[in-house]
Amino acid sequence: MSKTILELNNITMQFGGVVAVDNLSLHVDEGEIVALIGPNGAGKTTAFNVVTSMYPPTNGQVLLNGKPIVSNHPHGKMKKMYAGCDRTAYPDVVTYTPDKITKMRVARTFQNIRLFKDMSVLDNVLIAKHMNIRAGVFSAMFRLNKKEESDMHESARALLSIVGLLPFQNEIAGSLPYGKQRYLEIARALATEPQLLLLDEPAAGMNPQETDELGEFIRRIRDAFRLTVFMIEHHMDLVMKISDRIYVIDFGKQISKGSPAQVQSDPAVIAAYLGEDEE
């Protein structure tokens, strides 16, 4: 049994009266590719945003390597409005800013690509490398960290060559075609040296052939960088092909989980995607 990297316990995210994620619990083990799927508006991206601390959940806890990185319970005005359960289970409040979460080696990509559009492709990757810079402002200013800087450039270029963007390193990121921008975003996430990679719809807007290539690519980087991958995806072919386990959520609630074959034949999943028969 391999080690659990990421664990979500009873995550509930409530915006006012809307429960976007309802009592979601899941775990991702080391080296796995786990997919989170569900119809539009099911709360998948919200769950990602909770994991990366973009906003605190209303209730619940996220553990990374067994250590809480996010923990909250309903307080303030949510005390009255909270509609979920387990309201006293997580008395501690743990929050970090997203950059701290990234420093704990959790990297992510975004559903609507968020590159630094007016900067060069290489700079985009270099920014992710900045996180681990040892030189202070002054030594960086006076270029006393030449070695470090050239190391940063070198590893950024190495990453670009892995995603096949090295020939484009000096181009403006925003001018790349859509598919390449997706790869650049993954390269940028890899530059933070993650143990856990969160991919938010990496295949959105890709054609079937590109999607196939992406699936291969995800597997390849998982092996090459010893990653654990947790992804949101709509392309069922891709999900069924590469994921080890799948969680299905609908209206914030988990409705199914298991291997691709199990999920595919689960009547609850079919109902959520195709609509239920009226009896």
Binding site: D99, T102, R114, I127, A140, N145
Partner: protein, 387 residues
């Protein structure tokens, strides 16, 4: 273009600039206006580049420049006004005893130590502003876009109000302002005359800012400008880097303020009203938000345009015996405003956009000029449906 050619061209232009400055120094009496304009543009260039560091490169729309300039100007002035003049300047309320003692102690230092004091005073002004910026940055930098502008604007006005308040009379001389600030100091025992000093300091300050912008930290600044959420997700500590940019920018703004005090020879709190911030903002916008060389260029163009080249609009103009209408005091500003509008209309992103000065750019200029203005008529119409 080869690297070597570029280096030679760079050395040539720097040598030319140095020769020109020493020539100016030898002909000060004839070229008074040119000297004044160039010095003021050098000072404003520091302020503009430091504002660009914040607005153009880090994407923080701050309007606190005048406040930080006033900190620099006041701290510098208080430290450089000759000690024997102090009692005369603070004739209304008297000088703060501690300040007077400190200045007396400074006056008793050996002369070679004293020759450093003006520079230390400018540095002290910068550091004071940087400290203040670091303090107000903590709450203020959590705000975004327009709210940040309003908050920094507010702080800048607070600083001005504090400096002119009666309670500060014995230190800042309240609303009377400070007079007899000495001129720019000489360096290296007269080798670098006082006329050249502001240019040298401006060059050093701008060089430091360019180095910062091109370092890894500068890349992080730009990432914040591009997309805060993505920057944070890539491990850029937003508050730390915003604070860094804010503090650095305030430091250099205050250095510009200190130099401005030496340039004007007397300061009062009114000088540092919001209008000064807008002047600097104007320079930044005209030069191109996100372009250092644009800011430097437009600092000169705006200053010269406003105070020199358009002067003749202010004096009555006679053609023969016929007096041209409208030529009277203040008309210059009308023309200046129209010119600004023209520039903004034709160069939406400023004169330089986000580009920097480069020799290749200069070499390409004739080509660009031909394409833009001469070949347009002959060019065949472009087909639109080949996409």
């Amino acid at each position: 273009m080869k690297k070597q050619t570029k280096r030679i061209l760079n050395i040539c232009i720097i040598a030319l600039a140095i020769v020109f400055l020493y020539w100016l120094n030898a002909n000060t009496s004839k070229q008074g206006m040119l000297v004044a304009i160039l010095q003021k543009s050098a000072i404003l260039a520091i302020a503009a580049v430091s504002m660009n560091l914040l607005n153009g490169f880090t994407g923080l729309f701050s309007l606190g420049q005048a406040g930080f300039m006033s900190i620099g100007a006041y701290v510098t002035s208080i430290l450089v006004i000759p000690a024997e003049n102090l009692n005369g300047i603070y004739y209304m309320t008297g000088v703060n005893q501690g300040l007077l003692n400190f200045r007396m102690a400074m006056a008793n230092c050996p002369p070679w130590v004293q020759s450093f004091f003006p520079f230390l005073a400018i540095l002290a002004g910068g550091l004071a502003a940087a400290l203040f910026a670091a303090l107000i940055g903590m709450p203020v930098l959590r705000l975004k876009s327009d709210y940040l502008a309003i908050a920094t604007l507010g702080f800048s006005e607070i600083i001005r109000a504090v400096f002119s308040s009666p309670q500060m009379d014995s230190i800042t001389n309240g609303s009377y302002g400070l007079k007899s600030v000495p001129n720019f100091p000489e360096m290296a025992g007269g080798l670098i005359p006082s006329l050249v000093t502001p240019f040298l300091i401006a060059a050093i300050c701008i060089l430091l800012m360019v180095l910062l912008i091109n370092s890894s930290y500068g890349r992080a600044f730009k990432s914040i400008r591009e997309d805060e959420i993505a920057a944070e997700a890539m491990g850029v500590n937003l508050l730390k880097h915003k604070e860094l940019a804010f503090t650095a920018s305030s430091f250099f703004t205050a250095v510009a303020g200190g130099l401005l005090a030496m340039y004007m020879r007397s300061i009062e709190a009114k000088t540092f009203s919001i209008a000064l911030t807008y002047d600097i903002l104007l320079i930044v916008v005209i030069g191109g938000i996100g372009s250092v060389s644009g800011s430097i260029l437009s600092a000169f163009l705006v200053t010269a345009g406003k105070e020199w080249w358009l002067r003749f609009f202010d004096t009555p103009l006679y053609i023969g015996t016929w007096q041209a209408p409208l030529f009277r005091t203040g008309f210059r500003m009308v023309i200046f405003s129209i010119l600004l509008m023209v520039v903004v209309l034709f160069y939406r992103r400023g004169l330089m956009g986000t580009n920097e000065f480069s020799w290749q750019g200069i070499m390409r200029f004739p080509q660009w000029f031909r394409r833009k203005f001469l070949k347009r008529k002959g060019a065949p119409p472009k087909g639109g449906d080949d996409t």
